[in-house]
């Protein structure tokens, strides 16, 4: 019973954690600990198959499903309010729970006091085979029913969680064709947006990337940062960049020429309008 001595306190503490956890994820973790602990107890008590099934089914599948749902819905489900809307619920619940526990202790104690007629003789070696013989022998009907139950449950869950699409889903080919059409219509860049430049002073995504000719590519900075005005200008990277950024359109010197004329295709088009405005803001806030 060494396993019990180690595992039981952990299980109880984890179960209490379930009761007192503020966040649903913590509760789920606590429950997972309980389940794994129980699995260990199963293994220690002549039920190796249940040990595996407990972990695979409960911990691996059921609790994982819980975690999924927590993550799907849990973003806004903050900790519960302190005051309970039902008057006296906590006190009553604690009382009833306690009474229930006492009752259980008395009841089971009664059973134990009467003792068992059968001797302790767990057949550990043939655990899997024995279970199989039972499952496909006397309990085969129940087994079949659980199969039907599972299928029904899956269907039910799909029906409950299903949301009908109003329009057919666009295929990859259609999306690609649409991107090319957009490019043809108003020059929207068909590929990924360019990644921001790396300037390892701190979190680097707020620094625009530089084009080969040294001009910053404003569309490489995430839009939200631009809105917040948190875009950073690299202090000095190329000749004249520091002083040249203010006059955006009407730049002077040979480089401006290159920019206006060559412009390296569509990307320059897209950026010309959108890039200049926010950049000015970014400078002001800086």
């Amino acid at each position: 019973m060494t396993a019990f001595g180690v595992v039981a306190p952990i299980i109880v503490i984890a179960a209490l954690g379930l009761l007192f956890a503020r966040k649903a994820v913590h509760a789920a973790l606590a429950l997972a600990v309980v389940m794994i602990g129980l699995a260990v107890l199963y293994a220690a008590n002549g039920a190796p198959f249940l040990f595996a099934v407990q972990i695979i089914v409960y911990t691996g599948a059921i609790m994982m499903l819980f975690l999924f749902v927590v993550m799907l819905v849990g973003v806004e489900s903050g900790p519960e309010a302190v005051s309970d809307p039902i008057p006296g619920q906590r006190v009553a619940a604690s009382f009833v729970g306690l009474a229930f526990g006492v009752m259980l202790v008395i009841g089971v104690g009664q059973v134990l006091a009467n003792g068992f007629s059968a001797p302790v003789a767990a057949v550990e070696d043939e655990n899997v085979e024995g279970l199989a013989a039972l499952m496909f022998g006397p309990y085969v009907l129940a087994f079949q029913f659980t199969a039907a139950l599972l299928v029904t449950a899956v269907l039910g869950a799909m029906v409950l969680a299903h949301q009908d699409r109003l329009t057919p889903k666009a295929s990859q080919a259609e999306l690609a064709a649409q991107r090319v059409r957009d490019f043809g219509a108003d020059g929207k860049h068909p590929g990924n947006a360019p990644t921001p430049g790396v300037y390892a002073r701190h979190n680097a995504v707020d620094v625009p990337a530089l084009l080969p000719d040294g001009t910053p590519l404003e569309s490489s900075v995430p839009g939200s940062l631009v809105k917040r005005g948190q875009v950073i200008r690299p202090p000095v990277t190329g000749p004249g960049l520091g002083e040249g950024n203010g006059e955006a359109g009407g730049g002077s010197g040979p480089r401006a020429d290159g920019e206006a004329g060559g412009g390296s295709g569509p990307r320059a088009d897209g950026e010309a309008g959108g890039g200049s405005g926010p950049r000015a803001e970014g400078e002001q806030s800086e």
Binding site: L29, G60, L67, G261
Partner: protein, 408 residues
């Protein structure tokens, strides 16, 4: 399953556990080096070759560097879970190895103790591996959630959905092995393969397992959780330093774990490859089987690397559809076939040898069929490198000056 398990002196168990730990860590360092070298070779590069002989110490150096980096805890993170996640990912990876048999019973040097080269075994050992693997998923999910980052969350969700989905196909591929071996204990499965390794009669299961083991370990071409173009780094985007190293370690150990499991279930475990044992009596005795075992495992590792170097990443929905709509139904159908065969065999309707060799014949036919299909001439496609591919290497199109001029 030997009675020895669970009844050994404590020091033997401790020694074996320590050995497994050491082997796994060293093996991981070796694998990282191997992967870099092999991928480099496939990409016409050289790879790490400076530190140590053949650059073998490169991984060690990287590991030390990684551990010494600044450990960043993101502000939006859920601190407890954030720290817990990498540990949760790593521990189960090691745990799975407790039931993998490295070899037969050996005498520990300098003592009289005879012990099998396996930490422990249980009647449900393979299920145990599955169970432990499913705990490992927690590390990924929790890492994704606790980082407080959208990329990480999506990567974590993707990863866990992927692992869970492919775990089903994986479990189904085990079922036929259980049916053939009549046991779920690893040591007994190995001993059941004395005459015939299961990858031949159970080729479909083997193929399903090979595919799902790649999906299970989030490796290319199924490395969607870390799809850099979409999710930056996936669930470990916000991790750095030792915590990231733990994820890294867990991933490589998982690779080795599934490889070892494949070896145990389909390639005869620690048994010497066909032919060697016939020539050399002692091939399956003493410490030699460890060599065979590690060699077979290495073969699978190479397979992983090869796939990574060859195949492009799949799209997520295609990947899930493949798992649920192809692998699982196929596995179920195959299990049904095997059950019918085993039933007939158990009733004496057909001979076991016939079944086995029928399976082998089907396998050979399948392989031959696929091979012949590959030989079919593919319709000629316009060579993108027309005109300058005389020696078979594609080269960029000839540069046209006039175009450049007009662009200007």
């Amino acid at each position: 399953m030997s009675d020895v398990f669970g009844n050994e002196p404590f020091w033997v168990v401790a020694l074996k556990a320590l050995l497994i730990f050491v082997i796994l860590v060293v093996y991981t360092l070796f694998n990282i080096w191997l992967e870099r070298r092999v991928v480099a070779r496939m990409q016409h590069r050289v790879g790490p070759n400076v530190h140590g002989p053949f650059g073998l110490l490169q991984s060690l150096a990287d590991g030390v560097k990684l551990a010494l980096k600044e450990d960043i805890v993101v502000k939006a993170a859920d601190k407890v879970v954030y720290v817990l996640a990498p540990i949760l990912a790593t521990i189960p990876a090691f745990l799975a190895w407790s039931v993998i048999p490295f070899g037969p019973e050996v005498t520990i040097p300098f003592t009289d103790t005879v012990t099998p080269l396996q930490l422990t075994d249980m009647p449900v050992a393979v299920l145990y591996v599955l169970a432990v693997t499913s705990i490992g998923v927690y590390g990924i999910v929790l890492a994704g959630w606790s980082s407080g980052s959208t990329y990480a969350l999506l990567g974590g969700l993707r990863s866990s959905a992927q692992v869970i989905s492919y775990e089903v196909a994986m479990g189904l591929s085990f079922v036929t092995v259980f049916l053939y071996a009549g046991s779920m204990s690893t040591s007994e499965i190995v001993s059941a393969q004395t005459d015939l390794w299961y990858f031949l009669p159970l080729l479909p299961s083997f193929v399903v397992y090979l595919i799902s083991m790649v999906g299970e370990t989030n490796r290319a071409p199924f490395d969607l959780p870390e799809a850099e173009g979409e999710l930056v780094g996936g669930f470990h985007t916000e991790y750095s330093s030792l915590k990231f190293a733990l994820f890294f370690l867990a991933e490589y150990i998982n690779m080795v774990t599934v490889s070892a499991l494949a070896t145990t279930l389909f390639l005869g475990g620690w048994r010497a490859p066909f032919g060697i044992a016939q020539v050399w009596e002692g091939a399956n005795e003493g410490y030699w089987p460890v060599l065979w075992f590690l060699g077979k495992t290495l073969f699978f590792i190479f397979l992983f690397i090869w796939l990574r170097g060859t195949l492009p990443r799949m799209r997520y929905d295609q990947f899930m559809a493949f798992g649920w709509k192809v692998l699982i139904p196929f596995s179920l159908a195959w299990i049904f076939v095997v059950i019918v065969l085993r039933k007939l065999q158990n009733e004496g309707s057909i001979d076991e040898v016939v079944v086995n060799w029928a399976g082998v014949a089907v396998a050979v036919l399948l392989i031959a069929f696929i091979a012949l299909r590959r030989d079919k001439p593919t319709p000629d496609r316009p060579d993108p490198a027309t005109g300058s591919a005389a020696d078979g290497y594609p080269v960029p199109l000839p540069f046209d000056d006039s175009e450049k001029e007009s662009a200007r």
